[in-house]
């Protein structure tokens, strides 16, 4: 166990330079992008040059870029991510308020995707070339090909508009339901903690459609990976041993094959999770989900530097964190890893 922790520690330290690189890169990128925030935030189209200059000075944009970078780094060091010009709030607060929404959505989507993808992958691997295999392949291809905003809208159209099963696809909770007292920011968890079954149900209903939309998109990598690694494991020697010594089919597949086959899936899971959290901005937009990705997109469109930089930093940190968790999980799942 100490070996695993040591490995995780080394991993963390070695990812610090990358984090720093991300910081500098986004900072510079924001500076070279077209659009002048001062003009954007000036009172109106007929604001005078003096007013714009004044805003510039207040935002620190009149200083040379290297100096701005140093100031920015100093602020980061003191935990100050700046203030959003659009919301008027400190970026840290904004992110803190919105991150649970994104995380809750992503976690649920990942859970749905795994619950679907792993059995589908196993089924496909057990009968390669069969109807099941082809059906799974078709589903995966569709999941990847259809953009999330299309599949999201399709789900809304069918389930909300035509059938009326799903609730109004806006926001995290039905506007008429009472918000549970905030503890973790995860509505499902908060509602459960408060013992408010009604609120929990309301939040869960809102969550199902966007989570399914997201899950559909990442179904393919997970299912295909499960299938491929399951296929490889099923032909390995120790599966033959299990068969030769009369272990039940169930045990051979679930304990011997699947546990080995899931090792690469853990790695993919980390990547999929990070991608979903940041890149599925479209899902957040379609379902008016108050998450961090849509927040960052809005900020980007209005040349609001601080939120975008904060968002990128957050994503990079989460990416590092997720990799660490994957490393730890892998170390626990595969005893061979802990040697190094």
């Amino acid at each position: 166990m100490r070996g695993v922790a040591g490995r995780a520690g080394r991993r963390f330290v070695s990812s610090l330079p990358a984090l720093f690189g991300v910081l500098v890169f986004t900072f510079l990128l924001m500076r070279v992008l077209p659009g002048d925030p001062a003009v954007f935030f000036a009172s109106g189209p007929n604001a005078g040059q003096a007013e714009i200059e004044d805003i510039r000075r207040r935002m620190g944009l009149d200083k040379p870029v290297p100096e701005q970078l140093l100031l920015y780094l100093r602020d980061i060091g003191t935990g100050n991510l700046g203030r959003s010009m659009t919301t008027g709030q400190p970026v840290l607060n904004d992110l803190r308020n919105r991150l649970p929404a994104s995380l809750e959505l992503t976690f649920c989507a990942l859970l749905i995707a795994l619950v679907l993808a792993v059995p589908l992958g196993i089924l496909a691997a057990l009968r390669p070339g069969s109807v099941v295999d082809h059906a799974v392949r078709l589903l995966c291809t569709l999941g990847v090909c259809v953009p999330t905003f299309v599949s999201g809208l399709l789900l809304i159209y069918v389930l909300y508009y035509l059938l009326g099963i799903a609730p109004d696809p806006t926001g995290r909770i039905d506007i008429f339901a009472s918000q549970p007292p905030e503890v973790t920011g995860f509505l499902l968890v908060d509602a459960a903690l408060a013992g408010d079954g009604e609120a929990w149900w309301a939040a869960a209903r809102q969550l199902v459609l966007p989570a399914c939309t997201m899950a559909l998109f990442v179904l393919a990598p997970l299912a295909r990976m499960t299938r491929a690694s399951m296929l490889a494991v099923l032909t390995s020697d120790f599966i033959r041993t299990g068969e030769a010594l009369g272990l039940s089919r169930r045990r051979v597949i679930l304990v011997y094959a699947l546990r080995n086959a899931l090792l690469p899936v853990i790695t993919i899971m980390g990547i999929v999770f990070s991608t979903m959290l940041g890149a599925n901005v479209l899902v957040e937009k379609v379902f008016s989900w108050p998450g961090v990705a849509s927040y960052a997109l809005d900020a980007l469109l209005s040349s609001d530097y601080a939120p975008v930089q904060g968002f990128v930093l957050l994503m990079a940190s989460i990416f590092v964190l997720v990799n660490l968790v994957v490393d730890l999980l892998y170390g626990i799942a595969d005893p061979r890893v802990s040697i190094g």
């Binding site: 041993t241 068969e243 009369g246």
Partner: protein
């Protein structure tokens, strides 16, 4: 008496990309209760397919197209899973080659043994664990209580095979099929494992089918031996008769090709002994005080030896003895921690391994690898494989000169010219070995380092390749550093032999003298562990 296992006229087909291939063409065998039957033959003879048929472990492509398999009188040729599952492991079980891969890598071995017990008997987890512990003791694993929690990668190959045996005998089956159980293990480990198998089966009254390519092994442990060739049993007899007076031409060939204590390279292929080469006496390689550490532990320690031009020196030892490390150090693929390597009086040990390919000595020291398939670039045709060192080391460019040289090299190793356009996967094992050797001699080396060059080959192919190597050395005046775990091969191929143990030289001397009268206890132990099939051998060894 009714036999325990009867195989009657068994036929098996494999559906491949090139149509249906018949792997078994009417195999009939019978094993009585408590009997030990050996099945010998070369790769592709169908011996493993026969075993897999009995256990019904054939992969999807294989299909039993005819014949019958009866176990305890019951026809199981087409039995379904429901009939087979209670039989497998409980009535008949199987152990495999490469024991480490045959165990689940991420499950403690104790749990794996318990899995087998609980698959057949309704016992509690605790009881299964206790029985697993008793089984580990029975297969003589030291500190069995601690090993219960060990994972396969934490155990040696020999220990993994013991665990595998423990799993196979856990539910007291009456038949044990051992498919090349000791291939890839050291000779002393092989002996310990085989003795354990023989003793276990005898004590429990189990019948055993031992599948092996090693005639000596079969002779030593089996009451009856069946010889298979191309999907047929060509001869079946008790060992003394089979090896003393083989009747079938294939058996005779197989017996002749297997190295024995007194065989010679020429004798293996049925040729007359050539004249012995006299060493030139010119010093080619001088190694002194060689030391190599990996992570602080010395893999090679204080090794010194020399090699004259045209001489052949054997390095023998078990896994972990440092023989491969030494060969890599001499080839300059690894940097020594200390010591000197002098080639023709020049210190080449100081040139770092990463830069050695640019030194003028690179073309003088070449390597022949163990795995001839893996050591050839799969995207290179045989021609390109042989031409590659010529292009890189001698700077030969495309054209008639290059082609002539490659063809000449191919001719020297007996590789037909029309095979030069083929890719490695289109060549047989022996042909790949020839390409590997041609590649090594192409730049005109003076020292050839051969790292187990025939370990992966069938005996008949091995005989031909050894003969080729021996002839090349005589004709070209090459010096060989010959690394092998097979003592008989080293004795035939090398004038002098060095025996290594744990990175140190245990014994060194002229091969005939060393093998006839070994001085070190370790050498005696190694020699005694070699299974043999020739009659009255014990007198020499005891």
């Amino acid at each position: 008496m009714r036999a325990l296992l009867e195989v009657e006229d068994l036929r098996v087909e494999f559906g491949t990309r090139h149509g249906v291939v018949e792997a078994l063409k009417g195999v009939s065998l019978a094993v009585g209760a408590g009997e030990t039957l050996g099945i010998v033959g070369e790769s592709g003879s169908g011996k493993s397919v026969t075993a897999f048929c009995v256990m019904r472990l054939l992969d999807r492509a294989g299909r039993i197209s005819g014949g019958r398999i009866r176990f305890r009188g019951e026809d199981i040729t087409r039995a379904g899973r429901r009939v087979l599952a209670p039989l497998r492991g409980a009535a008949m079980s199987m152990i495999f080659q490469n024991p480490r891969a045959a165990l689940n890598p991420i499950r403690p071995v104790g749990a794996q043994i318990a899995d087998v017990i609980r698959a057949h008997e309704a016992v509690s987890a605790r009881e299964a664990r206790e029985r697993a512990l008793a089984l580990l003791e029975a297969v003589r694993i030291r500190e069995p209580a601690r090993r219960l929690e060990a994972y396969p990668h934490e155990l040696s190959g020999g220990m993994c095979q013991r665990v595998m045996i423990a799993m196979a005998i856990a539910c007291e089956p009456s038949l044990l099929i051992a498919d090349e159980p000791t291939t890839g293990l050291d000779v002393t480990t092989q002996r310990a494992v085989m003795e354990l198998l023989a003793e276990t089966t005898a004590r429990r009254g189990m019948a055993m089918v031992l599948i092996t390519h090693d005639l000596g092994l079969a002779a030593q442990y089996c009451g009856r031996i069946a010889v298979m060739e191309q999907g047929r049993v060509v001869e079946e007899a008790v060992p003394d008769r089979l090896f003393g007076a083989p009747r079938h031409a294939y058996t005779r060939r197989l017996v002749a090709a297997s190295p024995r204590r007194d065989s010679t390279v020429a004798g293996l292929v049925g040729e007359r002994e050539p004249e012995t080469v006299t060493s030139s006496g010119r010093r080619l390689l001088e190694v002194a005080g060689l030391r190599k550490e990996f992570g602080g532990a010395a893999a090679v320690e204080g090794v010194s030896f020399h090699l004259d031009a045209g001489e052949s020196l054997g390095l023998v030892g078990e896994s972990g003895s440092g023989k491969s490390t030494i060969s890599r150090l001499v080839c300059r693929l690894l940097d020594p921690t200390a010591g000197s390597i002098r080639f023709e009086g020049e210190e080449i040990g100081a040139i770092s391994a990463g830069r050695f390919h640019r030194s003028p000595w690179r073309k003088d020291i070449q390597l022949v690898f163990q795995d001839h398939g893996e050591s050839l670039n799969p995207r290179f045709s045989a021609f390109d494989c042989i031409a590659d060192p010529l292009r890189r080391l001698l700077g030969m460019r495309e054209g008639a000169v290059l082609r002539t040289r490659v063809e000449e090299c191919a001719a020297r190793v007996g590789l037909p010219r029309e095979l030069l356009g083929r890719f490695p996967h289109q060549l047989s094992g022996g042909q790949k070995a020839r390409v590997g050797i041609a590649r090594a001699i192409a730049p005109g080396p003076r020292l050839l380092v051969l790292d187990e060059p025939t370990a992966a080959l069938d005996v008949s192919v091995q005989a031909v390749v050894l003969h080729l190597l021996d002839r090349l050395r005589r004709e070209e005046g090459l010096a060989y550093l010959f690394v092998s775990h097979d003592l008989n091969v080293v004795r035939m191929m090398c004038e002098r032999t060095i025996v290594l143990q744990a990175g140190r030289v245990v014994e060194e001397g002229r091969s005939e003298a060393l093998f006839a009268a070994p001085k070190a206890g370790y050498t005696r132990e190694l020699l005694a562990a070699i299974p043999h099939f020739e009659p009255e051998p014990e007198a020499v060894l005891e």
